[in-house]
Amino acid sequence: MLNLGNLEESVLLLVIILKENAYGVAIAQEYQEQTGKSISVPAIHTVLRRLEKKELIKSKVGGATKERGGRSKRIYEVTQAGYHSVRAIQTHREQLWSKIPKLSFN
């Protein structure tokens, strides 16, 4: 299994969630919404480059808007490997959780 960082995992999940709208700014906003922590667009870009290099996501050139000054977006999409790797993490975690006994902290 590929080593995925925490942020990488979150961004990868966000890419899956956002589907057709998965590009830099949208991912950054969604991240903030979901986690309550703010993150800069350049930071998101870095993570995306890393994920793309690991071939967990792929990208294509998307549409342009007026705010972007006519510059096209780059839309990210999860690859099969990407999907499997987050899935695997989740499965792994669930397995672990299933073994955790009920605890009380009193």
């Binding site: 350049p42 705010e67 510059r71 977006k73």
Partner: protein, 871 residues
């Protein structure tokens, strides 16, 4: 409201084109989004921040990552290299001249660098070099400096060791005024480099032991340590350890060790080391009359290792107390002990009683400036030649440009070519250095030990220097050529009237080159003349046909009269005189009591006998010569003219001068003669009798009888001293040797100035080709209109000769100023004569004329049809 423009441009500049849309688009989107919520200032600030944050490797464009088109750099560079090699090959003569010029320049500079490094590396091979100091002595009488000596009294060293137990002290004593005789079986040698040293010598200095043990080698009083080559001299291939050699045929010394020969960059070179422990026995054996524990006589070189807690200057202060505490009361006044760093000795110490003749900072400065000058001349040349040859390639440049080559690539290409040439030249230069090194070593009279001079740093530095030179030299052609306008270039009117600045620059460079060369030629000639003048200058006595026989320490000193009688009986001998010093080299100061002065005056005092004036042809001005018949004359004195000034009332008659404890009458005055070397004026001199001071016997030989006389002399010698080798020398030869080092410098400048002129001519030739190439059409038209070949040659050469004339006008005052400065150091000096300047200038002009003449003649002879058919 828009994001800051400059930040945007920065982003566009660095960002990978493929990612630009995404990054810039996203950032803009964020910016406009923020504009709705926040202040414009904050939005802009955040935008800038994000642009900076995006400046990271994953976003930055790199040549490797490639743009949308395939990477094409390697084939291009390969093409550059191929074109460069083809070009060099095609213009073989040009390449040859260029490489030769640059290689010569580099070789000179390399040799000089090695020399300078060698001179600067002196004594640094000792592991404690930074902590070792020599103690010097300064002796004042009132405010007059009487003596500033590298050697100090015997007792100082041990007293320092006693007062400051953490300081290691060692002393060197080199037998004074007399070379000890060392023998083994049948062979014996005078060992002028036998050092008597304290047992601590090897704790202070590092010398590598090949045989024996450094810590015990000098422990035994009767031991001796030999250098490798000395050991071979006495023992051949045999192991010398535990064998004995005899000192003065009286004292047996056991060899306890063999060390490597002293490196050439040491300020002293011993052949044998003998412990100072038995110096009493040694004095006994060598018949030295002075004590060896005193505070007055100062023949001992003393070195100490200063522990880190002391600063040298601070310890010097300490030594003032030391003088007051230890020296006898009458020697404390005006007596100073000074510290000199070991590594400073070779270049900056020229004191009385140095162990060897030291180098000088001056000769290093001269060497460095010559090296720099030649390097400058060579690189100017390189620029001129490269420029000249590159104009012929304008078409290639233009075609490249039309094919889409950028200016940067063109510049890169020309830089590459000039770097290639400079690296080839460097290789040739290294070969030249290897070939000429022995010659150069003879010229500067040093032995360069390459194994410690050539370091990795030096190699890197030299290669970097060559590359740098290539870049500097390629700079101008690269910029000039890459700036060509294709349309103009194809019509081949490059370098026409418009580029007057660059033309001027090139002319300036040629003027500069020639000026430097002319200055060097004048300097070499003047220095040579000055030393020939010194050698030929009448000294006031006859130095020719005089054979000097060293007799100090032999039984002949006691039997002088008998020895001289035997000599004078020979028909080949005109006369002979015994004497204390070598006349014309140096006569040391000795304390004389002169009336009218409270204390003793240190004045040069020569001791000889009644045949002195006759033997040396010194003229008597007043009074009378010593008379052998008159017994009282052995206590009389002669003085020279200058001494008259010192005497009371400037009158000699009836005056007495005190030597020893007795006043001695002055019986005559002799004409001034140069008893010391010619760098000094003639000082007052006292001439007297003192048989125990006698060191030499000077023999005047009848003309043409030198070799029979030497044979007879040797026979007589062996009757007196059968055990000792007979080693006479000729006075004039010995005196001429005094100026050898200076003459070597002039020879060196001479060689280098020839080279400089040669290289400058290569440069001129390059410039001539360039200019003539540009004027070919003009020349063609002139010919068509009926100009003669001679007039064309004149027309073309005129400009260049003008340049050389201007160089002369610049060089003369500079050379005059420099040489005038240099000559100020001499008491006896030549006048600066203008003929010399004219001759140097004329030579430069002539050579320049020949160089340009060849080129212009070729241009004048071309068929006009070939040159004006284009356009």
């Amino acid at each position: 409201m828009q994001p800051p423009h400059w930040a945007d441009r920065f982003l566009t500049w660095y960002c990978h084109p493929e990612l630009l849309d995404e990054v810039q688009g996203d950032l803009h989107e964020m910016f406009y989004m923020r504009l709705d919520e926040e202040s414009p200032f904050k939005a802009r600030l955040l935008y800038i921040l994000e642009v900076l944050k995006s400046f990271k490797p994953s976003n930055i464009k790199s040549p490797r990552q490639g743009a949308n088109y395939p990477n094409n750099h390697m084939p291009m560079i390969r093409n550059f290299l191929r074109i460069a090699m083809r070009n060099l090959n095609k213009h073989r003569v040009y390449t040859g001249i260029n490489v030769i010029g640059l290689a010569l320049g580099l070789a000179c500079t390399l040799l000089i660098t090695l020399y300078v490094l060698h001179e600067r590396s002196f004594d640094r091979f000792h592991s404690k070099a930074d902590q070792i100091y020599r103690v010097n002595q300064k002796f004042f009488e009132g405010s007059n400096l009487i003596e500033y000596s590298a050697s100090i009294p015997w007792a100082v060293g041990p007293a320092i060791a006693n007062d400051y137990p953490d300081i290691t002290v060692t002393r060197i004593y080199q037998a004074w005024q007399k070379d000890p005789l060392v023998s083994r079986d049948e062979q014996s040698f005078y060992e002028d480099n036998l050092f008597f040293v304290d047992t601590t010598f090897l704790d202070v200095f590092d010398f590598k032991f090949l045989k024996g043990n450094a810590s015990t080698a000098l422990a035994n009083p009767q031991s001796v340590v030999l250098t490798e080559s000395t050991a071979r001299r006495y023992f051949g291939d045999q192991d010398p350890v535990n064998h004995t050699i005899a000192l003065e045929n009286a004292l047996d010394l056991t060899v306890t060790g063999v060390v490597e020969d002293v490196p050439s960059n040491s300020h002293f070179h011993f052949d044998l080391l003998v412990p100072l422990l038995n110096i009493g026995d040694i004095f006994e054996a060598t018949g030295n009359r002075w004590g060896w524990e005193g505070w007055y006589w100062n023949p001992v070189h003393t070195y100490l290792v200063l522990p880190e807690r002391y600063e040298a200057a601070q310890f010097e202060k300490e030594l003032e107390n030391f003088v007051n505490k230890n020296f006898p009361e009458n020697l404390r006044e005006g007596n100073f002990m000074l510290m000199q760093s070991l590594t400073d000795i070779h270049l900056n110490s020229h004191l009385y009683q140095e162990l060897e003749v030291n180098g000088s900072e001056e000769s290093i400065t001269i060497a460095i400036s010559i090296g720099l000058f030649i390097l400058i001349i060579a690189s100017i040349n390189f620029v001129n030649l490269t420029t000249a040859s590159s104009i012929q390639r304008s078409k290639e440049v233009v075609v490249r440009k039309l094919m889409g080559s950028s200016r940067r690539q063109l510049i890169l290409q020309f830089f590459g070519e000039s770097i290639l040439i400079s690296l080839i030249s460097l290789a040739v230069a290294v070969a030249l250095v290897a070939l000429t090194l022995p010659l150069f070593e003879r010229l500067v009279v040093v032995q360069l030990n390459l194994s410690y001079l050539v370091t990795v740093e030096l190699v890197i530095a030299v290669v970097c220097c060559a590359v740098f030179l290539g870049i500097v030299s390629g700079f101008y052609p690269a910029l000039l050529l890459s700036a060509f306008n294709p349309a103009q270039a194809l019509r081949s009117v490059i370098g026409g009237g418009k580029k007057s600045l660059s033309k001027f620059l090139r002319k300036l460079l040629v003027v500069f080159q020639f000026a430097i060369s002319i200055v060097l030629v004048i300097a070499a000639a003047m220095i040579y003349k000055q030393y020939t003048f010194l050698k030929a200058k009448p000294l006031g006595f006859d130095k020719e046909q005089v054979v000097m026989v060293p007799i100090r320490g032999t039984s002949i000193v006691e039997r002088q009269i008998e020895f001289k009688q035997r000599l004078n009986a020979l028909t080949t001998v005109i006369s002979s005189a015994t004497m204390s010093d070598i006349l014309g080299k140096d006569v040391p100061n000795r304390p004389f009591g002169v009336k009218g002065y409270e204390s003793r005056q240190d004045l040069p005092g020569l001791f000889t006998d009644h045949d002195f004036l006759k033997t040396f042809g010194v003229k008597l001005l007043d009074g009378r010569d010593f008379n052998i018949e008159n017994e009282a004359d052995s206590r009389a004195l002669l003085i020279n003219e200058s001494m008259l000034e010192v005497l009371k009332d400037k009158d000699w008659e009836g005056q007495h001068i005190v030597w020893g404890r007795k006043g001695r009458p002055v019986i005559g005055v002799v004409e001034d003669f140069n008893f010391a070397d010619l760098k000094r004026p003639i000082d007052p001199l006292v001439i007297g009798f003192a048989p125990s001071f006698i060191s030499y016997c000077a023999v005047r030989v009848a003309p043409g009888e030198v070799s029979p006389m030497l044979a007879e002399l040797e026979t007589i010698w062996s009757q007196f001293e059968p055990e000792r080798p007979f080693i006479p020398f000729f006075l004039d030869e010995r005196l001429n040797q005094q100026y050898n080092s200076e003459q070597n410098i002039s020879e060196m400048i001479g060689y280098f100035s020839t080279l400089a002129i040669f290289i400058a001519c290569l440069g001129l030739s390059g410039l001539a080709t360039y200019t003539i190439h540009n004027r070919l059409k003009e020349i063609g038209i002139r010919k068509v209109l009926g100009a003669s070949i001679a007039s064309i040659v004149g027309l073309v050469s005129k400009d260049f000769l003008l340049l050389v004339v201007i160089s002369n006008l610049i060089a003369w005052p500079v050379a005059w100023y420099l040489m005038n400065q240099w000559l100020q150091d001499f008491t006896y000096r030549i006048n600066i004569r203008w003929e010399l300047f004219f001759v140097a200038g004329a030579i430069a002009l002539l050579i320049a004329m020949i160089t340009t003449g060849i080129h212009s003649l070729r241009a004048a002879n071309t068929n006009p049809v070939n040159t004006i058919k284009e356009d």
